[in-house]
Amino acid sequence: MTATAPAELRLDGGGAPPPLLEVESLEVVLGRGWRANKVLSGVNLKVNPGEIVGLVGETGSGKTTLARAVVGLVKPRRGRVLFDGAPISGLRRRALRAHRRQGGVQYVFQDPLRSLDPDLTVERIVGEGLAIRGDPPEEIRLRVVDALAQVGLDASLMSRDPGQISGGQRQRVSIARALATGPRLLICDEPVSALDASNRNHVLNLLSELRGSLNLPIIIISHDLGSLAAIADRVVVLYRGKIVEDGPIDKVFAAPRHPYTALLLASTPSVTESRSLRAHQLRLQEGEPVPLLGPGACVFAPRCPFALAETCSAQPPLTGVEPGWSNACSRHRDWPNLARGRS
């Protein structure tokens, strides 16, 4: 497959600063031979300083792989990842290690209980990156206290180990660990899915404050669209390794242009009855005819009740509908009305 030209229609407002992170036509294949699985293809993504970007999509959509490619834990087959204008996707051993040691990009993992070493104290965990970087011990201690304060944790916790603190505190320790090296980009992979509602909100508010106080851009992978909407600026929706919608989160969530985004929103459980469309109006019902589509068709077509053989037999490129908002649905004008007409 030839890489299609990125059909970006993003007006960055003339003299805006260049994006801190730029992902260009990224393709990632995991496994070899008959097991080879194209996890991401043709992914373009930009993250600007001070921006919170939400990455949503279901299991297997490639969100985590995209995040891992950004930190250099996965090698892309095609495309590049540029951090602050410098390509990092092509870095090899020594150069990659040097890049990682700078701690410019930090990753917060989903399950703090499993991602934090149970045998180390909070102080060692938070300071580990600094120690690897070779900072002097007395400086490390100060930075650790500082990082813990940034996440609202008391220095008295420093001598505990991860098993002795609560789940919410543990996730804040992982964020403090990430902050200690003074990162310029933070990637949080499902940072709150293991937490209770109150702790979840606490951690999300904290991320929002960090963006404000440090102008720190944050990529948050989450399946909880409601919480994401509270703090993110932009949302990127992935489906089967492709970005299907990318735009300002308030606009996208108010009137999604891709039926998959709409399905995600309609499926989100709600305490109030305020949905414009219900999930069953966006789901293919049993026995409903599906157009016969060959390979290369729209990735969502097999699950889409609005797919047509004429329009959906090729994956539509991500096309701008208005500045900063693009989607990959060839029927984006027609489906909302069709959906409303479904029982």
Binding site: E58, T59, S166, G167, G168, D196, A197, S198, N199, R200, N201, H202, L204, N205, H223, D224, L225, G226, S227, A229, A230, I231, I249, D250, F253, A254, L263, L264, L265, A266, S267, T268, P269, S270, V271, T272, E273, S274, R275, A279, H280, R283, E286
Partner: protein, 352 residues
């Protein structure tokens, strides 16, 4: 209805319960249940009473450690090692099962109550086909022949919305997605026609789109078969979506119970109010996310009086001394709050 043909027990012939006042319509009744953990060192469930009516969907909601899972484990006779029932009673359709033997539980499981849990893959044998595992249940518990069991298994797979039952029958768990596995688990759980399905965080590990499908399936099973469901979740939004009534758990007690409408729109307990405010569901606006200050008490370290008092901004002297009793504030609405009838609390508006 095919499922009801398999109903083995008629509740009207069940032996009358010794304790409590069971009504015929209640499929499950729990009275003043106490469960201790760590070999009796601490009490994690402290006087929980609840009931599930026939064909009713009831939600148990609360933070981790609030006792909701232990309550449902006790109701299934599946308490983990080191835990035991210290008081109170559990009865199915009027039959007291609190002290039931293992053998007695075997007769209850499947035919009176089925269960699904958070991680379906860990409850299935990874090397047997899903069909064989369902057929085994039907042959052993339902006493069907090999052929009947196979036919019935295919029917059940169809009933739970698996699109190609014939294909799924021959697949092993690893070949199915999480949503399909959970559907298969539901098929196994309802295979012997129980009147109650207990679902403990059954949709927590699923994608939202799949979660919505499983919720629709449970609603559909209730409509078609009159299946009662006890749904346990930490997510108030999921519970509100599915249930008729909700029990709110805090520190091993039910602090409020009522219809979904009452719990979500007219909560009376300050904890329930806080829970509604921190729930994420349905609001897609940029906003400050509310938190509940403090953290719930550790199991076994409960204060005298109301356990929520240290986190409650309405707490007064009487909240911290003496046991707080449940107060009936509506037809089905009960609140365990010393200030349940104070005007100041009941008039506080919710920003929903």
């Amino acid at each position: 209805m095919a499922l009801n043909d398999l109903l083995l027990d008629d509740p009207s012939v069940a032996t009358p319960a010794v304790r409590g006042i069971p009504t015929r319509e209640d499929v499950l009744r729990i009275d003043d249940l106490h469960v201790s953990v760590h070999e009796g060192l601490a009490t994690a469930v402290r006087g929980v009473s609840l009931r599930v009516g026939a064909g009713e969907t009831v939600g148990l909601v609360g933070e981790s450690g609030s006792g909701k899972t232990l309550t449902c484990r006790a109701a299934l006779g599946l308490l983990p090692a080191g835990c035991r029932i210290d008081g109170g009673s559990v009865s199915f359709a009027g039959q007291d099962v609190t002290a039931a033997s293992r053998r007695a539980w075997e007769a209850i499981h499947g035919s009176q109550v089925g269960a699904v849990f958070q991680d379906p893959a860990s409850y299935l044998n990874p090397s047997l086909t899903v069909g064989a595992q369902l057929a085994e249940v039907l042959r052993v518990k339902g006493r069907l022949s090999r052929q009947q069991a196979r036919r019935r298994a295919l029917e059940l797979f169809g009933d739970v919305g698996l699109h190609q039952p014939g294909r799924v029958f021959h697949q092993i768990p690893a070949e199915l997605s999480g949503g399909m596995l959970q559907r298969a688990m539901v098929a196994i759980a309802i295979s012997c026609g129980p009147r109650l399905l207990i679902a403990d965080e059954a949709t927590t590990a699923l994608d939202v789109t799949i979660q919505a499908e499983v919720i629709d399936l449970l609603l559909d099973l209730r409509r078609r078969n009159g299946l009662a469901v006890m749904f346990v979740s930490h997510d108030l939004a999921v519970v509100a979506e599915l249930c008729d009534r909700i029990y709110v758990f805090y520190a091993g007690q039910v602090v409020e119970s009522g219809t979904v409408e009452e719990i979500v729109h007219r909560p009376r307990h300050p904890y329930t109010k806080a829970l509604v405010r921190v729930a994420s569901g349905g609001d897609f606006r940029r906003r400050h996310l509310e938190v509940i200050p403090g953290s719930p008490p550790q199991v076994g370290t409960y204060m005298a009086g109301c356990s929520f008092a240290d986190r409650c901004r309405f707490a007064l002297g009487p909240c911290c001394s003496g046991e707080v009793q449940s107060v009936v504030v509506g037809d089905q609405h009960e609140v365990r709050c010393a200030r349940a009838n104070d005007v100041e609390l009941s008039e506080e508006l919710l920003p929903v």
